[in-house]
Point group: C2
């Protein structure tokens, strides 16, 4: 007889439960406040056939679901500590799949110092979907929001841009591009850097819709213009070999790098934070009075971009 939902939870998920999870024996999680800190909460779902390939390995699905949420916390300067998990599974539910899924969670719990706080598991007639709500702490009032960019600020981004989008194209075209594909499958939340950007960055977010589209969100909310200098956008060697297309890179999305702004006078602090966190940070543009976002070519002229990034519908 296959194991029941409750047996599977007790066997595979209870060992992942942390403080406040009540051993997954209750419907809720209890989160004790920490003095002088605010709780940062974020939620993101990933769906088979939309956000990952239906045949993706279970541990990769788990890590991706967790990491896209940790990335949101990282961009706010929050220290992650736990998450709730909602798992909607097509029937029949296979124990082996769940076991591997749980092993992916276990690996990333260790890597990022987080634990499972609770959740909900059910069957669905639709595709597999994994919804995570992740929690972190920031010192009160020090979360890095989208709305703090000001004219004169510089624009920065971590890592390299466009690898994940190229990895997705490679997967679809059945091309072997291991490095790019790896970046698509398992993003790298920039948690260590995010913590160091508190008090330095004026605005930040993680790049999920596409670098231009996401900087457009900062521009909208901060009521400023953001200019990105195309030749400064950091492209990996692998991407240069693949197509080296900067317009595609800045509109592809799924990078899960942190794009942020900081006052010009804090450039040295930005670079020191990058060094301390062991993360590449590139200065890619500037903030000005005005509206919207623009990609500037070598001659300083605005490059035409048909679609700035991913739209869900």
């Amino acid at each position: 007889m296959p194991k029941s939902e409750f047996e599977l939870i007790a066997e595979l998920f209870a060992p992942l439960a942390g403080k406040g999870a009540l051993g997954l024996t209750d419907d809720v999680a209890l989160i004790a406040p920490r003095a002088g800190r605010e709780l940062v909460a974020t939620t993101d779902a990933i769906v088979a056939g939309v956000d990952f390939f239906p045949n993706e390995a279970a541990d990769v699905v788990a890590r991706r679901a967790l990491r896209v949420n940790l990335s949101d916390l990282a961009a706010k300067g929050a220290e992650p500590f736990g998450y709730l998990l909602t798992l909607s599974l097509p029937k029949p539910v296979r124990e082996g799949w769940l076991r591997r899924f749980a092993s992916g969670l276990a690996a990333d719990q260790k890597a990022f110092g987080v634990s499972l706080l609770g959740g909900d598991m059910s069957s669905t007639p639709g595709p597999l979907s994994v919804s995570v709500t992740a929690f972190g702490w920031v010192p009160k009032g020090r979360a890095i929001l989208r709305r703090g960019a000001g004219p004169g600020d510089l624009v920065f981004v971590t890592g390299t841009i466009g690898d994940s989008g190229a990895g997705l194209r490679a997967l679809k075209a059945k091309k072997r591009e291991a490095a790019l594909i790896a970046r698509y499958r398992v993003p790298e939340p920039r948690v260590a850097l995010g913590l160091r950007l508190r008090g330095i960055a004026s605005a930040a977010l993680d790049v999920s819709d596409g670098l231009l589209a996401d900087l457009g969100h900062i521009a909208d909310v901060s009521n400023v213009h953001v200019a990105v200098i195309a030749e400064r956008v950091p492209l990996s060697q692998a991407l240069r070999r693949f197509d080296g297309d900067v317009v595609r890179a800045v509109t592809a999305g799924d990078d899960y790098e942190i794009a942020f702004t900081a006052p010009r006078g804090k450039r040295t602090q930005v670079m020191a934070a990058a060094k301390a966190a062991g993360v590449r940070v590139s200065e890619i543009g500037f903030v000005a009075k005005g509206r919207g976002v623009a990609l500037l070519g070598q001659d300083g002229r605005v490059m035409p971009v048909v679609k700035k990034g991913w739209e869900h519908f």
Copy 2:
């Protein structure tokens, strides 16, 4: 041209945003701690074709998604204040549907004193699904858990049991049973009573899988035996007319009533709390040493129950 995701969020959902939601302009919500209180967090998803009928009105879907989560908080004695919403929508996304969905949220935000803190909206190739993570406060250490039931305690339940399950059967059979169907479509979280059960109830949960199955969870976690006396299970007039089947009633699920235990000496306090909250509470059984849950017939003999409640797979 149809409105973009961002326009729809700004128009329909931003007006629902509360303190800490940052006007839905960011990826996260900020929750400021309250002195002496713990945060209670719970998450539950509902899926079209599984948890509600695919043709259900959008405002009812919204209210149901919110209420099944508020019910979890109520059973813990938590005071709800906010929620995150993940909406996975089949294409094409219709503005009219979303508008009505938002109106359902607005109505229940007012009814329960909660506000939208953030979320995630995306398209899905599968059925519509709505995942909510809801938050409430309890004074530190005073959440009512599943694990506190002790031998000698009495067992209570709010409202009437089995109406929702009968409503679902009526809907499937296309029978007109307005009262029962209404209870299935829009459950009534017992928030006011839950708050008053702090310090009185020794264990509690909301009845979602089925009264027997859920009391079985309390029995498992508290390491006790729970006995339910069949003739004491509160059945509504509508249910008595429909089929009056108590075994079906205690195994049907979706009641979203609070089942709880309390020491015998607190019976008077339980009844006073019920009166103050304006909620019917029935004493339906007792806790003893041992394991598992049993339904007792008129002669005190254990009634045979094939399946104690809903299992997700």
